[in-house]
Symmetry: C2
Subunit: 618 residues, 2 copies
């Protein structure tokens, strides 16, 4: 099911429609995902008691619709007269189980994720605490629900999402449910898409069921939810596992779908044939990233009732890829591209921009920023302050940023308003990490479609778009690294120092820096471990990059250390830009925003790092 | 102690310096605050194992310095070979207790706050879970530490911050410690400033100690920490309570200070005279808000190694107040104010801006935006797209935003760069709530000093600055509501519709809307409860505003309901601006950022609201 966050009325309509459909099909039990009524990532709306009670009030509407069928759905429930540990009304992340118009059980989630963008402990009371309060051992408190299925009573153990990802917790809800008689397990989830997540899930379930010997039905939602800074996509892919953890049935990923399991439950015990799974290769990764971004983009526009997108099309790879993604999500007629050359832009990139626009059939315009930048430079240069001796100096670096802000805040923002649309931020994760971007310039935009992709991934997605989506070169080969026609290096083109016709580009060594920054951001490593690997001669391996990349990038240890320190510093100090950056569509294991939570300020180098540095520079 | 987040080397130096000083003074036990070594609000740096081990490595340095003295300090500790519930290395928020060069105990925090900007469960393993894993009841697991004090063994019960705010939790660490023999309790805290927080603390401690009959020493840090979106100040105010919860000794709030309790511990049992406390009146509230903001501002600039501030000075109340706060935090010579009039700015506000600058002695300049806005309007109007029939239209509303962006992104950002400084965001919380501001215009800036103050509070702070801080009218009376000279209404002055000389201003009824929005944002109420109070005729009371305000604001129920719905909608849809807004200095019980966590999208009105509306409009 597709869940609309914060819209219980729409979700309950969909649930009841699903129940009616299931009844017609003669289905005995239909299961909806975790938090199917309110949505899951709704932030502190969980603190709004009126909203909470409104959500709860829908439970009886759904229960009334269960004449002749068993239904389980995720919603929140409260405990009147009791408080959460924040003093607010006590809330549970619950599964409600009903049959024949009767509410049979409300089961609460036991294991609460508090990593990435999950804040379960902020909102929900865990069932373990409730058990303790009532004087129960948790393992006796979690027991299955008896449903009338296939003409007999079947004990079904319901649990929620994290409850089956129990390896790092002290409690194992699935085990308790089986100990207390569950013949079959059902997991209601709201589990975001992530590369290889489903593969990991299959492994986790296999291990769990290997111990428990029961079949499991996993139900997940599709759609898009967010926390303000991160746009998070859900790929559904609800799955039936047999008692040895083999995949017996799976819903089409990314699709809203009623999947019917139409064999006897008994068939789930024993030797089932396992469904084939997609290969975990780069092609599959790009396919999923492409689906996640286009779904996220489409929903973002629909959710804001906006149809038109404005994009600054520079002729570089980033904006070319975003233009394609917009065209896929919104249709060519809704995409308005504009090229805004200054005196530093080469004819090659201007041509590339126009080629992309033509190939995609999107609206296209050109507007040079020369006059305006000149006016700003003049005004800022000659401005004098009363009572002040210090007047400052306008350097060429500052003029680079004037150009970027002129494009972002003056033209793109004004144009988006004029067209009744929004404009995109075309930055990639490498730039975002280093702050290689201008606040109110290219940091601006309503959404960052590729803000969670490293530069190398942007190139890979460009190749995927040409080869798999369009099956022609909508993005010119001249700007795709790795393409035989590649001739235009990546460049911001904001000064003569970044002249692409002279092969001058960004001061970033993408193959190495992508991997370094991924290590620091996504793997949460410290310069200490990077330097340690460097000294050991194993850094290429550690960073998963081709052998020789590090050696080919630095002439000596001093160059390496200087670069490492400069990049670590840039990663931290550029947070002030990310604080003001738009939401990012999440495709990595750790995206900027409330997924990777940062604080302003620079951390000490560790004492071990300082020792290693002395050793390296000896 | 002032704690520098992410800088263990500096913090440990301060701790060891404190220990040496204490030894010289013949002190027997010195206590440092919670997380004194790494800082507390350091985000996902807690996931960086090298950093974590570096922090832990300092424990032995500190323990070595405890010859001849007992020391307790807050830091983090790990449990090698065990995992947190996120699969990462297991971490505890701990107090280390050492005496005479020996580490006596490491005590872990039991109660983990997960509200506001606190994410303890994201990072730390609770001691209750550890106890359970080891087969203990928590109440037997928490036991005091024996220290040699006053020539005998004294059992001291150490706990951390939330451990004493236990009312809403199932466990009571203080009670367990006393049950297990604690003669005196010590609480290491990292507890942010909040209006009336210390008063609440005194009440909480009084209730706790009333039950337990033991004295308590509360140690808190001073300084500023942040989570990227919120700048949070700490007011110290470490306190000694006697066994009935009376305040016997208190450190000067907001100051780093070694406070010496130099009476026998036995004196803490029995009847002590209670210290006088400041009155909880508006004057005290403004004093504390003023201290919190100037401290937060000062530390923000110092932390970023920036001395100069640029401010757009419009002649309105908001920027006038921010200019004063900057002058107080940085000194007049470091503040650069600029007035940027368009054809819509009245001479009265231009004069007011100049008056403020003169009164404060800050640098001042004027730069009209007429030429640039004209150029932008012309360019945007005549821009045509290839392949497009739809070209849009540039309305006067869009031109308002062009002006704001011209000021924010073109002039202020360029000027800040030229001067090597940063510019402030002068928005108040009322504007932020409604999105009555322009993205990349007045939403921009590096920090929002008054972003957590409602408009009415901004006026109150203006009066406080004139009357208490400057003791003269640095802010002209003509722009201070409530002042006898008040004549200039609050206005954005972006169009002829906002002409202050004709008495036309913002489309906001501040006395009512401040209170309405506070109800929705800070008290987490829903339009449903607001409408309910309106129907009952008790809304003035509910919103804590003068009787008659609501009746005087709306001619009939329809006007009221339309306004309520429009404001609730604006509050939600304007999140896209707040996502890109700078960090706010926190002074309320719920500030925008990661304190009040929001998600994009509009919530359903509750079904009860829809009923009430039908009733109201009948």
């Amino acid at each position: 099911m597709k869940v609309a966050p914060k819209q219980p009325s729409r979700n309950v309509e969909a649930i009841i429609r699903g129940i009616e459909l299931a009844k017609k099909e003669g289905i005995e039990l239909i299961v909806f995902p975790e938090m199917a009524v309110p949505g899951y990532l709704i932030g502190d709306l969980y603190d709004d008691e009126s909203f909470i009670h409104d959500v709860e009030s829908y439970t009886s509407d759904i229960v009334q619709a269960t004449q002749g069928i068993a239904v389980a759905f995720g919603t929140l429930s409260t405990n009147q007269g009791k408080v959460n540990r924040d003093g607010r009304i006590r809330k549970y992340n619950s599964a409600v189980i009903a049959q024949d118009g009767e509410l049979l059980r409300t089961v609460h989630k036991t294991l609460h994720p508090n990593y990435r963008y999950f804040d379960d402990s902020r909102y929900f009371h865990p069932s373990g605490e409730l058990a303790r309060e009532m004087g129960f051992e948790l393992s006796n408190f979690l027991y299955p629900t008896k449903l009338n299925l296939e003409g007999k009573k079947v004990s079904v153990g319901f649990m929620l999402c994290e409850d089956m990802w129990q390896a790092d917790y002290l409690d194992n809800p699935g085990k308790s449910l089986v100990k207390n008689g569950a013949e079959i397990l059902v997991n209601l989830s709201c589990s975001p898409w992530g590369w290889r997540k489903n593969d990991k899930r299959h492994r986790v379930v296999k291990e769990l069921l290997g111990d428990l010997g029961r079949p499991l039905i996993y139900v997940n939602n599709v759609g898009v939810q967010n926390n303000g800074k991160n746009i998070i996509t859900f790929d559904g892919a609800s799955t039936v596992y047999d008692s040895s953890g083999r995949v017996v049935l799976q819903a089409t990923p990314w699709e809203e779908e009623v999947v019917v399991f139409d064999r006897a439950l008994a068939s789930l015990y024993g030797n089932n044939e396992e469904l084939e799974r997609p290969a975990l290769d780069e092609h599959q990764e790009l396919t999923e990233i492409y689906k996640s971004i286009t779904l996220g983009l489409g929903e973002f526009f629909r959710g804001n009732n906006i149809t038109r997108a404005v994009i600054g099309l520079s002729g570089g790879i980033d904006s070319a890829v975003v233009a394609c993604l917009l065209e896929q999500a919104l249709g060519a007629k809704n995409v308005y591209a504009i090229n805004m050359p200054s005196k530093f832009n080469s004819q090659s990139t201007i041509n590339a921009a126009e080629e992309v626009a033509k190939a995609l059939g999107i609206n296209y315009a050109t507007l040079p920023i020369t006059d305006s930048v000149e006016l700003t430079a003049k005004e800022l240069t000659y401005l004098k302050f009363e009572r002040s001796e210090f007047q400052g100096e306008l350097t060429s670096f500052m003029l680079e940023n004037v150009q970027a802000r002129d494009r972002g805040s003056r033209i793109l923002a004004g144009l988006a308003a004029k067209l009744g649309g929004i404009f995109t931020n075309n930055g990639n994760k490498t730039e975002m990490s280093l702050g290689y971007s201008t606040l109110y310039g290219d940091v601006s935009g309503a959404i960052a479609p590729i803000g969670d992709l490293w530069k190398g991934q942007v190139y890979a997605l460009a190749r995927f778009l040409n080869n798999e989506v369009y099956r022609r070169d909508v993005i010119p080969g001249s700007i795709i690294s790795g393409h035989p026609d590649f001739s235009i290096v990546p460049s911001a083109e904001l000064s003569a120092e970044q002249n692409v016709d002279e092969g001058k580009g960004d001061p970033i060594n993408y193959p190495y820096h992508d991997a370094l920054l991924r290590e620091l951001v996504e793997y949460r490593k410290n310069p200490e471990t990077v330097l340690h690997s460097y000294i050991e001669g194993t850094l290429d391996e550690t960073l998963r990059i081709p052998k020789g990349t590090v050696a080919g990038s630095f002439a000596n240890a001093k160059e390496f250390v200087d670069d490492l320190e400069q990049k670590y510093h840039a990663l931290q100090t550029s947070l002030f830009k990310r604080v003001q950056a738009p939401p990012v569509i999440v495709v990595s294991k750790s995206s900027f925003g409330y997924d990777f939570r940062e604080s302003l300020g620079v951390a000490d180098f560790t004492r071990k790092y300082i020792e290693l540095k002395a050793e390296a520079l000896k």
